[in-house]
Symmetry: C2
Subunit: 447 residues, 2 copies
């Protein structure tokens, strides 16, 4: 019997690594560790090596394995992209300035690009995806969304035969860590954030994590792939976790929920796409409620595949490097092929986003009110005027000061369009007993 | 001889569907429903249509959408494979006889193959994978393992940069359904099986489901991909759920566990691969314990990606069709490419399987004993002779007959090699107070 272990000529493919911080070092180390295994699995077709590294300061010491060849570092991105020994460009410098230039230049030079830059693709993806099509040069970005979960490829390849009905995702590990610590050990938001920073989970300037925009960038990429059209970041509703208080966590618990920052993406029967990022009450019995710490999870509903859920590490050096390396293999396989790109890119000119005002769920609303008779009646009256049903209301006694003048008052509201709620809230805000903007969380029924 | 199909602007690619039962009809319907969307996502490169269908009885009525062209049915598999209008062959007839001939003939004709036949690949994969390499014609089999979970592609592509440290999988939906119903509503094994059959989850002859071999075939495929060498089904340990009794379910609950049929695949530091299918106690707090009904889930640990878990429908018409369609797109993309195969196949001649005797866990063992003084002492004495530690023992009173002569006696044992346990059990079986073979479940710590 003929057993044919075909070994072709093994090309050595050079990688130009733009950025050698946490993830870049992880890519170096993963290739150093598992490079031979990758070549074996790829049927001996190619060997990947890093031939050029773009850094700000070549003299800085780095946590990378083994010998670094002389002259591998450069501070000039043009030199990196133009280097004939660079066949594939990996962009890991972040931001939307130089990163854009590097990616665009690589595509124009016909060099496949691998990037983990969600902000770049969410904000300037339209230009870059068009350039990728024009140059027939692929751009891969598994590392941009939930590093350790191969959700990009799942959407681009595995679910290609499905209309995607919805995504429900926990896709910002920092926010999930903070909410989890607030839930599990009753930390305040500030204490949980400080802990996340001390552990290296949150940046020194964690604005994009806690304000929801990191999750929003990822959700835009998922929705763009699933529904095929570019999505303007200005068209979506994003609210972060800065306003979550221990009182909210406590209430959620009492009612059988946990608070999660959820990215919700849904296609409505008329084709309109709902996309929003908001703190949400999620039933304790749902699998998403069991996603702890910095883990990410994405529940996907396909019309053929049914319900599926993908869970893993959303960030960190090695999980993100794992995603970059998978994309490098994909990029390597596409070199020399007539039709380079497998993962699809936006395939429609435009589509309709559902205005957030038309999205409906139940709600949890917390008001900061002056504690005097008639407060509930006044708020409930305005809600009634707007035909919004109340399923419960509660005003906890302040344990440290039972006679406090200002108290939190919580309303649980039946399902209604968010626009209707907003109209009612803007009226309620004008009441003299209401002292600040109400805080609104969604109550999601995950089915 | 390799035939390259040149793909022009939107080629219409013909599929030869061997088998038009549940999954085959699902493939037809998915393409009928989402074919245009698939073409859009594929950049308009190709359109997939079913051009030939192999059936036993062309006159049988089928649950498929829309008009079926005249002459599409054939009863001759050779005609299907040879048909010049068939560019890709889908094998869904099952078994290892004709199915083998069809797959082999298609590969020899240079026609990519998509199959969902786990038994075929687990038992005759060595020959077929070698033929795929020899003919440079891809064979895709996402549908063979956990239909709605794209685990094959995750291992072949997304985790290609990882050494895979372990899989822990619930990969037989029928067994999980039966155990779940025994746990949640206290059904007997027989009643739960009858329910699964009535609902269409279990076949009329469910032997491969309940004896563990369906899960074993899938686990062999996963391990073959992860570790790269062919695995002889005779080299692995498989035990099914036929021996699970309500008493076991009850005990597990009391101790904070649920009983699951687990496929465990692990690479040991010396490179030996552990692969076993056994009923197992899984801690209630683990995500795998929350996998209910016919759902499947696979926890994967990669050295770079870390822990990940993939959850979804393991079987059924549409989830399996979704996997077949994803593979069809992959196959279509490979037509006309010089190097067709992306997903890797076995890449090593051989490797070492860890004998089951050398695998270690804690255990739950149930004995059927004659209730007389000294029974525990005799059993415990033999365990002590074998240096096996006991963490607990219990003999439940039979509520319907407190003076019953025969009773169940349960021992919880500390971690030891399975071989040591087997040696002790074969001694214990010779005791005259022990009436039948002991029943052994693993107690898995999922970390």
């Amino acid at each position: 019997m003929v057993t044919l272990w075909v070994v072709n000529a093994c090309s050595s493919l050079g990688i130009g690594l733009a950025g050698c911080g946490t993830v870049g070092s992880g890519v170096w180390n993963t290739l150093a560790c598992n490079g031979a295994l990758i070549t074996e699995r790829a049927g001996g077709d190619f060997h990947l090596h890093i031939s050029k590294i773009l850094v700000r300061d070549p003299s800085k010491s780095r946590d990378i394995t083994g010998q670094v060849p002389d002259g591998i570092f450069t501070t000039d991105w043009r030199a990196l992209v133009a280097d004939p020994a660079v066949h594939i460009v990996v962009e890991l410098i972040g931001g939307t300035g130089d990163a854009f230039e590097i990616v665009a230049a690589a595509l124009r030079a016909g060099k496949p690009v691998v990037t983990g830059n969600k902000a770049l693709l969410a904000e300037r993806g339209v230009e870059l995806f068009a350039l990728s099509k024009e140059t027939q040069t692929p751009i891969h970005f598994e590392a941009a969304v939930a590093g350790g979960i191969p959700i990009i490829r799942i959407v681009q390849d595995s679910f290609i035969g499905n209309r995607i009905l919805s995504f429900y995702g926990i896709i910002n590990g920092t926010s999930n860590y903070i909410l989890d610590r607030m839930t599990e050990v009753s930390l305040s938001f500030e204490a949980a954030l400080a802990e996340a920073q001390a552990l290296g989970y949150a940046e020194a300037h964690p604005a994009l994590d806690v304000n929801g925009w990191d999750a929003a960038h990822k959700a835009i990429l998922l929705a763009t792939l699933a529904y095929g059209f570019p999505i303007d970041p200005a068209s979506i509703h994003v609210s972060g976790i800065e306003q979550v208080r221990p009182a909210d966590i406590h209430f959620a618990k009492t009612l059988g929920y946990v608070v999660k920052l959820l990215a919700v993406i849904r296609e409505h029967p008329d084709g309109a796409v709902e996309l929003r990022i908001q703190p949400s009450f999620v039933a304790k019995s749902s699998i998403l409620a069991s996603v702890h710490g910095v883990f990410n999870a994405i529940a996907v509903q396909g019309d053929a595949a049914g319900e599926a859920l993908f869970y893993g590490r959303g960030a960190g050096q090695n999980p993100t490097a794992s995603a970059v390396v998978a994309d490098l293999v994909e990029a390597a396989r596409s070199l020399g092929q007539s039709s380079g790109h497998r993962g699809f890119l936006p395939y429609r000119e435009s589509g309709r986003m559902l205005p957030v005002g038309e999205t409906s769920t139940a709600y949890y609303v917390r008001f900061d009110v002056t504690d005097r008779p008639g407060v509930i009646a006044e708020i409930a009256g305005i809600l009634a005027d707007h035909r919004i049903g109340i399923s419960g209301t509660h005003s906890p006694v302040n344990p440290t000061d039972p006679d406090a003048e200002f108290v939190d008052m919580v309303f649980l509201l039946h399902t209604c369009p968010f626009g209707k709620l907003q109209a009612a809230l803007s009226k309620i805000e004008t009441l003299d007993c209401v002292n600040s903007c109400p805080v609104v969380f969604r109550i999601e029924s995950l089915g």
